[in-house]
């Protein structure tokens, strides 16, 4: 009796056990981030001038454009590739599906710098990609693939692909094949069944994966800065540049704030749209 009573009392709370993690996050996550954001309105002098400059000038507008454009493009391309892959993974025989899975996980878990480095080498003027394009006659002279947004897009698509495939696979696998059989008997050709049934049923996965890829791309630093070069800066690189090279903490903080707001807003949207449906 006594032990049961203590067991129950012990269960009632439990907040204490979360305390170490809470304190860690408060001290080294919440406080520093809030302080950084505060600097955006206090540094170098109080006021909103950092935001005015950031959102008002065309130079900075270019950075926002790059960020959103590349993120959008990466999201679109990954979605286009990921849908057939996730679909195939969901219905393929065990062995090929297992192999494909292993390849996806390997690419996902390989060190980020390794992957980026590989693309830097492959996309060089004398790199293998240019040579392949030349040999199949698509281009005559090598084209510039690094230090611009093409390189960034290719590298980011490579990195983001697993994050699109995996949630989409989860959604498609849960669709009852009998629903597609019903569509076929109803007279829908493969194309009609794809457009009218499979795609709409997979749409939550596409939207959720897409949102995730988009949000991750917005704040990505390593790949854009190695493959994009300084001329084609994206938001994360801009923040680093302001803070590290220019010691302009106010402007860095303002840019960080914008990135944070967009990210958290999209994250909240994601939770609202997709969490309740998944738990139901």
């Amino acid at each position: 009796m006594v032990t049961i009573a203590t067991t129950q009392r012990r269960r009632r709370s439990g907040l204490g056990m979360a305390m170490p993690a809470i304190l860690l996050l408060l001290a080294f996550f919440v406080v520093p981030v809030v302080m950084l954001l505060t600097r955006s309105v206090t540094d170098p002098e109080p006021g909103l001038h950092n935001y005015a400059a950031l959102l008002g000038s065309p130079t900075y507008g270019r950075i926002f454009f790059n960020t959103f454009f590349v993120s959008g493009l990466v999201t679109l391309i990954t979605a286009l590739i990921a849908f057939p892959i996730a679909w195939a993974l969901a219905i393929m025989p065990r062995l090929p599906a297992g192999i494909l899975f292993a390849v996806i996980l390997l690419s996902m878990w390989t060190n980020l710098l390794t992957r980026t480095y590989a693309w830097m080498v492959m996309l060089q003027q004398t790199g293998i990609i240019n040579r392949m394009l030349q040999s199949i006659g698509l281009i005559d002279t090598p084209i510039q693939l690094t230090n611009n947004l093409i390189g960034v897009t290719i590298g980011m698509v490579y990195i983001m692909l697993p994050f699109m495939i995996l949630p989409l696979y989860g959604v498609i696998r849960k669709i009852d094949p009998a629903i597609l059989q019903a569509a076929a008997l109803c007279g829908a050709s493969r194309m009609q069944a794809l457009v009218r049934v499979l795609l709409p049923l997979a749409a939550p996965g596409i939207a959720s994966g897409g949102l995730m890829v988009f949000v991750m791309s917005l704040g990505y630093y390593v790949t854009p800065s190695l493959l994009g070069g300084t001329a084609n800066m994206m938001l994360a690189e801009f923040i680093v540049q302001q803070v590290q090279s220019l010691l302009n903490w106010g402007m860095g903080g303002a840019a960080a704030f914008v990135l944070l707001v967009v990210t958290l807003a999209l994250y909240a949207l994601q939770l609202r749209l997709f969490e309740p449906r998944e738990t139901r």
Partner: protein
Amino acid sequence: MLLDFGKLGSWKWILIAICTLTALFLLLPIVFIIALSFGSSRWLAFPPPGWTLRWYEELFADPRWIQSALTSAKIAIIVTILSVALGLLASFALVRGRFRGRAVLRAFFLTPMVLPVVILAVALYAGFLRLGINGTLTGFVIAHLIVALPFSIINISAALETFDPAIEDAAVLCGASPWEARYRVTLPAISHGLFSAAIFSFLISWDEVVLAIFMASPTLQTLPVRVWTTLRQDLTPVIAAVSTLFVVLTIVLMVATALIRKGTSK
């Protein structure tokens, strides 16, 4: 019958083609870099004019590479231990706790995963400069721990959720103290979750670049920081050698995970 592989007709071949091309796309950089690490061309020509172990020799001859690898390992191990410990406690609170706002707390614990890491890096950089722990092991560990913790919590709480607390109660009724029951009954039952948490935490710390760039000092650098600084100067094949070792490590960890999964699912 789009969800019946055998009844896809010609579309089956389209899917197979897309899968094959994508698999090649995903494998290409990895295979390519492994090949180049054994190639003799200083300029990374492909196919390599000859084969050599020179880049590995250069790598192992340079004490700075060894030093930063050791630093990385040390940080990653400390982070793994702390991340699993804190994650275990936090997961117990999230899954078994009976207080209000658990959903909010859960979301709070996961935010470092969603927040662009560059923001955290810059913010911690400023904070650590003030505290004077920038460029120290402590700084590294704290920074990596913050991004590793969410993954640890996700894995452990998922395992804990599938474990019926009644079994723990049964152990208590058998005479075990509550803590003993947890240690002897619950922990072994969720060991696969703890293991995944450890693997994730280790890999995240080991691979972390952005935070590390800001935490590093000229005397204390992790392996990714060395790779990063080297990469910004030139694309030396030594990096290909390092990369190959990274890939090998990843494969080893993946196989270990797969084996353990198989072991626990039986």
